[in-house]
């Protein structure tokens, strides 16, 4: 039955290899623009590194983790062989080819445009085509998730789709739709210019298209983490999932309200009207709903585990929890980072407060704390949890795992808290050089240095992660027990059709996207004179 083992392992190894390569780049960037290092005199190297770090960490790494984990869930949750294994390998090949096609021009300095593209900057076409291939490869995964779920439903009429599969399919649909924005930007705006067919580009429209992708992509990164919260954590710590229905509603809400909110990234952009900015702000605020539901459900599930383990009283169950279990430790640390990061996010989504932190280092701190912290730490936990089932070898360096999770958490806090702070002091982001001898920013030198230390701790933690995995890969063979996901306190026997499928929710997602994005896009398209000359990067004049 377990057909996709090699497939999942290939996805995860390639994902983590990319992560391992991009991690030291981040620390190098932090170091060379800190007071600890003299100015490198050529900002191009800095932006080249930022582009490689961002492209790998934001597109390749989480996409492959979501794909690999999705294939794992498909077979393990549906308890039958996955349909379309060959197609899945094709999708993987596309992602690998796309990654190479994108990274080579970046490494050569021909596409230092940062992973968010920033037109009218235009880099080498191979970079953009590579990114498109990565997305197309992931769309193969989206189709396979959908096909597998519907085949299962056809063969099990009326039965509730297992929750892990339901959540995975929700994540795949979210990705399919949110990737459309960047795909439109790349295919119709950027790539024609990069290939030399056009010399001007509507940068404002491109930013609106990218915002379509830019925010919900974060929730796509978040999906494996949330799926792990619901389907791995309660089982791993000996408890039960508090509510299956609540979980389904949380994922459905993500599908609807995570999508039409990206313009909060463009609050300072003149090409979007204030009314749409307000609309997006309101829907961004609504994303706190599924997150709050999740925090509540998972805390309740963890409490059940604590009480099943003999914990008594108002807080006694906390002490009874298996804190030495890496999954327990991981989810706790992830929640702490989610709390701080989420609070920062509320500041970003409000128009006025955003004005004080817009384009400052605060933003960089924010998304590293949420993505690099709360989300990625659960990617480690997922790997630790499923690795024995992939390799057929024991993974039992529990002490090292705990050390890895702790160092990741501490490193991320030490990296991002000073980052937030200098952002409030007004330090801009995307700058290659800061002159700390100037009295105006001399006081920020200590904070920036602290971030360098945080980054170094993260690199150490990354090394520990690979040590754990490699030790697992070389351990003696064992036959792991059948993999199980969490069971709900009351497993669903029958569900309303609305909670067992996606038709209604996809309809609402698309409708809200049209309401929130339709006019700004149509307006940009129909306004003459909005295109500006493209600026080619990496060409010498």
């Amino acid at each position: 039955m377990w057909n996709s083992r090699r497939l999942v392992l290939a996805h995860l190894w390639f994902a983590f290899a990319g992560f391992g390569a991009a991690l030291p780049l981040g620390e190098w960037q932090m170091f060379v623009r800190s007071p600890l290092h003299a100015w490198i005199s050529d900002p191009e190297w800095y932006y080249r590194s930022v582009t490689a770090h961002g492209t790998t960490m934001a597109y390749v790494f989480p996409t492959l983790v979501a794909m690999g984990f999705g294939y794992f869930v498909t077979e393990q949750a549906l308890r039958r062989p996955m349909v379309g294994l060959r197609w899945a390998w094709l999708g993987f090949a596309l992602v690998v080819i796309g990654t190479i096609a994108a990274i080579v021009p970046v490494a050569l300095g021909l596409a230092s445009v940062l992973y968010t593209f920033y037109p009218p900057l235009i880099g080498h076409p191979s970079y953009y085509i590579g990114v498109v291939l990565v997305v197309v490869g992931s769309w193969v995964w989206v189709a396979l998730m959908s096909i597998n779920m519907y085949r299962w439903k056809r063969d099990n009429p009326g039965a509730p789709v297992p929750f892990p599969m339901f959540a995975t399919v929700a994540g795949s649909y979210l990705w399919a739709w949110t990737a459309v924005g960047a795909a439109l930007e790349l295919l119709f705006q950027i790539i024609p210019v990069a290939l030399g067919w056009r010399s001007t580009i509507d940068a404002g429209l491109a930013r609106v298209f990218f915002s379509w992708t830019l925010h919900a992509i974060v929730y796509f990164w978040l999906m494996p983490t949330y799926i792990a919260y619901y389907t791995i954590v309660p089982r791993a710590i000996g408890g039960r999932l508090f509510s299956d229905t609540m979980g389904r509603i949380a994922f459905i809400l993500f599908l609807i309200v995570a999508m039409p909110i990206g313009i909060h990234h463009a609050f300072e952009d003149p090409q979007v009207g204030s009314g749409f900015k307000y609309l997006h702000s309101v829907f961004t605020a609504l994303v706190t709903l599924p997150t709050s539901l999740t925090v509540f459900t998972i805390c309740a599930s963890v409490e059940i585990a604590g009480r099943l383990r003999g914990g008594k009283g108002v807080l006694g169950w906390l002490k009874a929890l298996p804190w030495r279990n890496p999954v327990m430790l991981g989810v706790a640390l992830s929640f702490v980072m989610l709390g701080f990061g989420g609070a920062g996010g509320l500041i970003n989504m409000s128009y006025q407060l955003n004005a004080t932190v817009h384009n400052t280092q605060w933003i960089t701190g924010h998304f590293h704390l949420i993505f690099g912290g709360a989300i990625v730490i659960m990617y480690f936990v997922i790997a630790y949890d499923i690795w024995p089932h992939l390799t057929g070898r024991a993974l039992d360096s529990f002490g090292l795992m705990r050390a890895q999770l702790w160092t990741w958490f501490l490193g991320m806090i030490v990296l991002t808290f000073p980052w937030h702070w200098v952002g409030i002091l007004g330090m801009p982001r995307r700058m290659a050089f800061f002159d700390y001898t100037d009295p105006a920013i001399a006081a920020q030198a200590a904070s920036v240095t602290m971030s360098v230390v945080g980054g170094a701790i993260l690199v150490l933690s990354g090394v520990l992660f690979f040590v754990v995995l490699v030790r697992g890969q070389t351990a003696p063979r064992t036959e792991p027990a059948t993999y199980r996901f969490s069971v709900a306190v009351r497993p669903p026997r029958a569900l309303p059709a609305a909670l067992n499928g996606f038709g209604l929710w996809l309809g609402l997602m698309v409708a809200l996207t049209i309401v929130n994005y339709g006019f700004p896009i149509a307006h940009s398209l129909s306004t003459p004179g909005t295109a500006v000359p493209a600026v080619k990067v990496g060409e010498r004049w």
Partner: protein
């Protein structure tokens, strides 16, 4: 279990979710498109529809009676894109060579000046063309250049640009390159000054930024000072005026000397 129809008003999930989503969107739209714009102090809308159009991001005409301030000087009419004037033909270069005979008095027989005027040999074609157009339209003022360009057609100016770009840059017998001044390599971020080298070579080169190396020091200094005072204003985005007016006298001097001394 019977097959339940989802898209039906009898299905409570459908009715409730559509109603709640629509209600949130409508209330948010009323607040964002009507209430907030009208409550905003200082906005003068003619009515609710005007406020909605404004919040939707429509470009509105200024209210009647509003004074539109236009600059009291001409600015450049040249729109530059990176592919402009690439790959000139031999004929164009040849015509440019003939036309350039009238320039030799100041700019030298082969585009190398002996008179503290700019060296044109090997200059980017876009730069030559843009400056010629600006002299002709009056966007850049020069008592010497203005009469010389009045009878040049657009094609003439393109040919001249092609010719001078074609001439080899002769390495002037200047002193060896000194250490790169900070203003060239790092700029002054806190004063909003990008490194000179980020556009004019050294670090990177940008379309429309001139080749400065080996130009006469007096010429470079005079131009920076002219940008700083606003006497020269043919940089349409004010990129050079904003930079030059924030540079100190020492920085202007250091940058001019650095580029003049470069081979």
């Amino acid at each position: 279990m019977t097959r339940e129809r989802i898209a039906s008003f009898r299905n409570p999930w459908f009715t409730a979710s559509v109603a709640i989503t629509a209600a949130i969107a409508i209330v948010a739209a009323i607040v964002g498109f009507v209430w907030l714009p009208l409550a905003h102090p200082g906005e003068q809308f003619k009515g609710v529809w005007d406020a909605i159009c404004s919040a939707a991001g429509l470009v509105r005409n200024a209210a009647s009676g509003t004074q539109i301030v236009r600059p009291d000087f001409l600015t450049t009419s040249v729109e530059i894109d990176p592919q402009m004037l690439q790959g000139a033909s031999a004929e164009s270069i040849g015509r440019g060579a003939t036309l350039a005979l009238r320039c030799t008095m100041c700019h030298g027989a082969r585009g190398l000046s002996q008179a503290d005027t700019p060296n044109l040999a090997g200059q980017y074609p876009v730069t030559i063309y843009k400056e010629l157009v600006d002299f002709k339209t009056g966007a850049r003022a020069s008592a010497v250049m203005a009469p010389l360009v009045t009878d040049l057609s657009d094609a003439d100016m393109r040919d001249l640009a092609a010719y001078y770009a074609y001439l080899p840059r002769v390495l002037a017998p200047h002193s060896a390159a000194s250490e790169t001044p900070h203003i060239i390599a790092g700029g002054a971020p806190l004063r909003g000054i990008a490194p000179c080298g980020a556009c004019h070579g050294e670090v990177d080169s940008k379309a429309s930024a001139a080749w400065l190396e080996g130009q006469p020091v007096i010429y470079l200094r005079t131009q920076l000072e002219a940008f700083a005072t606003g006497a020269r204003h043919n940089d349409i985005g004010e990129q050079m005026r904003n930079i030059a007016r924030r540079m100190t006298g020492e920085e202007i001097d250091a940058a001019s000397r650095y580029y003049a001394d470069r081979p």
